[in-house]
Amino acid sequence: MLDLDWSALWLSLKVAGWATAINLVLGVALGALLARRRFPGRELLDTVFTLPLVLPPTVLGYYLLVLVGRNGPLGAWLQDSFGINLVFTWQAAVIAAAVASFPLVFKPARAAFEGVDRQLEQAARTLGVSEVALFFRVSLPLAWRGILAGLLLAFARAMGEFGATIMVAGSIPGQTQTLSIAIYEAVQAGNDGRANVLVLVSSLVCIAVLLLAARLAGRSGGSRHDVA
């Protein structure tokens, strides 16, 4: 009964970790861009970036399949140029999890950058500090609290990703079968004992992430010294 499937947990952590790392770069960069630059179609872009939050995960999965599948524009290019096939690999699960959790990083990041006093960035400019340097020395440290909260929620969301993942990565035990998919398979197979254990593990991981988030938020709230 206690045949705990560590491979599913490990895979989920790996997929969620990679997805969060990708979103740390893309979500923060695009959040900063939309907060600071005015250009036509800015709010339309914001809507598109927020879409994964409200679209059914199966719709996301379908879009991804169309894009990276064998006949999709990106998939065909990867196949022809590098011989890479993404569908039914753990990397596909990373893409699915990253897309599904992207708005949870992007939205708070944009809000956090908009909350940074523009005059501080102007002051940095008059002091001769370049745009790139002032981003890392002024804007990012002052927006970091809001971004961090988003990153942890995105990690938890990526851990639980199901719909889009099963469509592009499938359910290959030990390879693409993440924790949430393994639970589904266990219930379908009538293996209640295994389902119970996996559900418990999944819940514990999510509680741990949320506790960590609360602790980090509490600590940076008490003192801003660490931020520098």
């Binding site: 005059q119 501080l120 002051a123 008059t126 001769g128 340097a133 020395r137 801003r224």
Partner: protein
């Protein structure tokens, strides 16, 4: 003549049109831009520093063209070497006093560590008698001390001019007098030319070797 400008810019704010059309030539080392609030004083200062782009005109400082709409010249604020002190000082809230003062000497992508000491920074901290506050954060010090930090931060980069936006407005009267004297001493010692915004006649008396009156976006003759 250390500063010469002739600029125009149309602005819209809260449904209200505002036309900035300023021409001035600073012939004296200390110049006060005087006028009521909303006259366009801060906008003029921002244009000189490169924080506001005029639609037409030219800005020249010490013979160097900072901006020329006709010739498509626009030096970014980073290359203008102007010491700018904002009305509410704009100190970096996450950095210590020492890190704030040394900010412009470090061009890298990471802030200096808290303990890092640079000779020029330590000297300015002493000049303004804020060396005992070097490890404090801006939120932990008084208004007058913040103003000194902002001045030291601007001066440590050895700017070719100092632009001050209502530097004493946020302070009480006694402190204002003291800080005016400190500023005058620094100006005497460094020889850096000053353009100061104010609507306080006392500033005009102390720093107004030349006074330019501004009203409704235009220079009054």
């Amino acid at each position: 003549m250390w500063l010469e400008l002739d600029i125009e810019r149309q602005l819209r704010a809260a449904g209200r049109e505002f036309r900035l059309q300023v021409a001035l030539a600073c012939t004296q080392p200390r110049v006060v831009l005087f006028g009521p609030s909303g006259a366009g004083k801060s906008l003029t200062l921002k244009a000189i520093a490169g924080l506001l782009r005029p639609e037409r005109g030219t800005i020249r400082m010490h013979g160097q063209t900072l901006f020329d709409a006709g010739a498509n010249i626009e030096l970014p604020p980073q290359q203008r070497r102007i010491g700018y002190v904002f009305q509410d000082y704009a100190l970096f809230p996450h950095l210590s006093v020492r890190q704030n003062v040394g900010f412009g000497l470090n061009k890298r992508c990471l802030n200096s560590r808290r303990g890092t000491r640079i000779e020029a920074v330590e000297q300015w901290l002493q000049t303004f008698r804020i060396d005992h506050l070097a490890d404090s954060l801006p939120a932990q010090i008084s208004g007058g001390q913040r103003q000194r930090v902002a001045l030291a931060r601007a001066l440590v980069t050895q700017p070719q001019a100092l632009l001050l936006d209502e530097p004493f407005a946020a302070l009480d009267r006694d402190l204002r007098g003291l800080l005016r004297q400190e500023l005058e001493t620094v100006l005497d010692n460094t020889g850096i030319p000053l353009l100061l915004i104010s609507h306080d006649p006392e500033d005009v008396r102390m720093f107004g070797q030349q006074v330019v009156q501004l009203a409704e976006g235009r220079v009054r003759a």
